[in-house]
């Protein structure tokens, strides 16, 4: 027997074992995992703080986001304004906190729309198969060919400028990515022995999809969703930088960068805070996504 065959056999034997290493939805296991994966822990802590800052911005922000103090324009960081002020004398820290709400809202909205379109579409075409699958897959390929921001700018241009429209556009660009993953997963699960058995026992199509296919196919999608939150966040920042997203006077990190860039020669310090906010948040989503990937698939080692 060749070595390759041996590995194939040991791998197939190992499969039930890897399944059982999946942590059950058990609180103790969750905390143990989080404690063992420090990067995931830090990311989750950071993101929780960000969510709190977004929700409680009106209570904890030192100043109202649009309060202009025309005596203190483009101030460097000081005791009164920890991160300085912008060109209208608004407090940068406060605007950063209010901006985190828009950033998180935008990222969730875009990913939510992507999931709402992509997941059912992927399951449907994968499950039904035949010419519907063929047609659906071509549609997925066609939409995937667009550079996402180009598609988002075009859709925003058509729907009208604004954060919600911009994020609908980004969600539209995400949908085919999720649909493709979901379709592939559905195909794998559909032909699995236990689904065949369920069909044999007379399970309905809806029952098959909801009870067997969806729960088993959703794992890679969860990883993809977490990573997509980072992409959506970067897209929001970029579109708001182009003034296609969040509209002034509302605050967004991308919009703050656009203003800071305008006055970069007078107050270069203003461009750091929003940029690091975007960088850290995207990094946190990415790190969490990678950690969940490793958690769900123990066969891959951490990078």
């Amino acid at each position: 027997m060749t070595d390759a065959n041996m590995t194939a056999i040991t791998e197939s034997r190992a499969e039930p074992a890897t399944r059982s290493t999946l942590p059950p939805p058990n609180r103790f296991r969750f905390w143990a995992w989080l404690w063992s994966d420090k990067r995931a822990l830090i990311s989750l802590l950071y993101l929780s703080l960000l969510v709190l800052a977004a929700i409680f911005a009106p209570l904890v922000a030192p100043y109202p986001p649009n309060e202009q103090n025309l005596m203190d324009l483009l101030m460097p960081p000081s005791a009164e304004h920890w991160l300085g002020t912008d060109d209208l004398g608004r407090d940068t820290l406060s605007r950063l906190m209010y901006g985190s709400y828009n950033a998180l809202y935008a990222a969730s909205l875009a990913v939510g729309i992507g999931v709402a379109i992509g997941v059912p579409l992927g399951v449907f075409i994968g499950f039904v198969g035949g010419w519907i699958d063929e047609l659906g897959s071509r549609i997925i390929d066609g939409v995937l060919a667009f550079p996402p921001i180009v598609l988002a700018v075009a859709v925003t241009g058509a729907l009208g400028i604004g954060l919600t429209n911009a994020m609908i556009a980004v969600g539209f660009a995400f949908a085919p990515v999720l649909a493709r993953t979901m379709r592939a997963q559905t195909l794998v699960v559909k032909n699995a022995l236990y689904v065949e058995a369920a069909t044999g026992f007379g399970a309905s199509r809806l029952h098959l999809i909801l009870r067997h296919i969806l729960p088993n196919a959703i794992q890679p999608v969860i990883v993809e969703i977490t990573l997509m939150l980072a992409v959506a966040l970067l897209a929001e920042a970029g579109l708001s930088f182009l003034s296609l997203g969040v509209q002034p006077p509302e605050s967004s990190w991308g919009g703050m960068l656009a203003r800071a860039y305008h006055y970069v020669e007078v107050a270069p310090a203003q461009m750091y805070a929003p940029g690091f906010a975007i960088l850290f948040t995207a990094l946190a989503f990415n790190t969490l996504g990678e950690s969940i990937r490793v958690l769900l698939d123990p066969t891959i080692k951490r990078r």
């Binding site: 066609g142 667009f146 996402p148 940029g275």
Partner: protein, 319 residues
């Protein structure tokens, strides 16, 4: 062998046809996303009733959607993408005068990304588990998460306003003054390239680790081949197709980021054109840029497939 490649190109073109139909249909149907009467929207704020009627006639909004699509596709195939609502310039002309700037940025960023990313990936893979490996993988994580346009702003502050080594904004035509064009494109290309560097470094690392851990490499080692010749003659050759495919996939993302980077560096490319036109509701231009860019991406992917097939006859035979 050439025959196989040509056959493959023909087969791939046939496969690409439905993709192109879907992509063009998406661009066409953008009109239907507009709230209210698309003819009024396209005509702009100060249009006369005649102009609106004219636009309704050009787009054929009174006919069924599929008929409209094929009519639109027909004029697109003749190279007629309509006129800008502001300058009244032909959209196709407007795009083709600007496209070279964007393509220069994307190609430059791709080359930079390959020149930096691939060696980093090789370094990390051959020194797996060392501090250097950890540094490279961490830098790669940063490269994916950093907003390109913010990096662009930082580069401008440092190297244009600070040291005055590079111009802060603008671009020069590559066809007239190639060297100066490259000089102008350097900072935006560097800002664009971070994602490519990061993705290539990561993927080359993991692909190379997989190849180096495989059976036949173990056999070669047992036969006494040096690590260096294993890496260069066998490892990298097997990874080259992966590198090319990944680089090809990056083109799509580079055009995405270029839209924002062009705004930072005031590069008169198509990215700047589409965002400016979207802000000003110059719809025919928005539609035109989206169409041209999606076709550029589709043909780039075809090119990558062809290159892969010429390097590796197995690919030509299998697709």
């Amino acid at each position: 062998m050439m025959d196989g490649v040509l056959g493959m190109v023909a087969r791939r073109l046939m496969q690409l046809l439905p993709v192109m139909i879907v992509a063009t249909f998406v661009v066409f149907s953008l009109v239907y996303l507009m709230p209210g009467d698309p003819a009024v929207m396209i005509a702009g704020d100060y249009a006369t009733a005649e102009r609106i009627a004219e636009i309704r006639h050009i787009y054929g909004f009174d006919r069924p959607m599929l008929v409209q699509y094929f009519a639109w596709l027909g004029s697109v195939l003749k190279g007629d993408l309509g006129h800008s609502l502001f300058s009244n310039e032909e959209v196709l002309r407007l795009i083709f005068t600007r496209l070279p700037h964007t393509i220069l940025l994307v190609v430059y960023a791709l080359v930079l990304g390959a020149l930096i990313g691939i060696p980093l990936g090789i370094l990390a893979a051959t020194r797996q588990g060392t501090t250097l490996d950890k540094i490279i993988t961490s830098v790669a994580s940063l490269g994916v998460a950093v907003p390109n346009f913010w990096l662009g702003i930082i580069l401008v502050t440092l190297f244009s306003l600070g040291y005055r080594w590079f111009p802060a904004t603008g671009a020069v035509s590559f066809f007239e003054k190639p060297l100066e064009a490259l000089y102008y494109a350097t900072l935006p290309a560097v800002a664009l390239s971070t994602g490519v560097v990061a993705v290539l470094a990561r993927q080359v690392r993991s692909a190379l680790l997989e190849v180096l851990g495989s059976q036949y490499i173990r056999t070669l080692r047992a036969k006494g081949l040096s690590s260096r010749s294993i890496l260069w003659k066998h490892g990298l050759r097997n990874v080259s197709a992966t590198m090319l495919t990944i680089a090809g996939l990056q083109v799509n993302r580079l055009f995405s980021s270029a839209v924002i980077i062009e705004a930072v560096f005031a590069v008169p490319g198509v990215g700047n054109l589409i965002s400016y036109s979207a802000l000003n509701k110059d719809f025919p231009v928005v539609q035109g840029v989206a169409l041209v860019l999606v076709l550029v991406v589709i043909f780039t992917n075809l090119l990558v497939d062809v290159l892969n097939a010429t390097f590796d006859p197995r690919v030509a035979a299998s697709t």
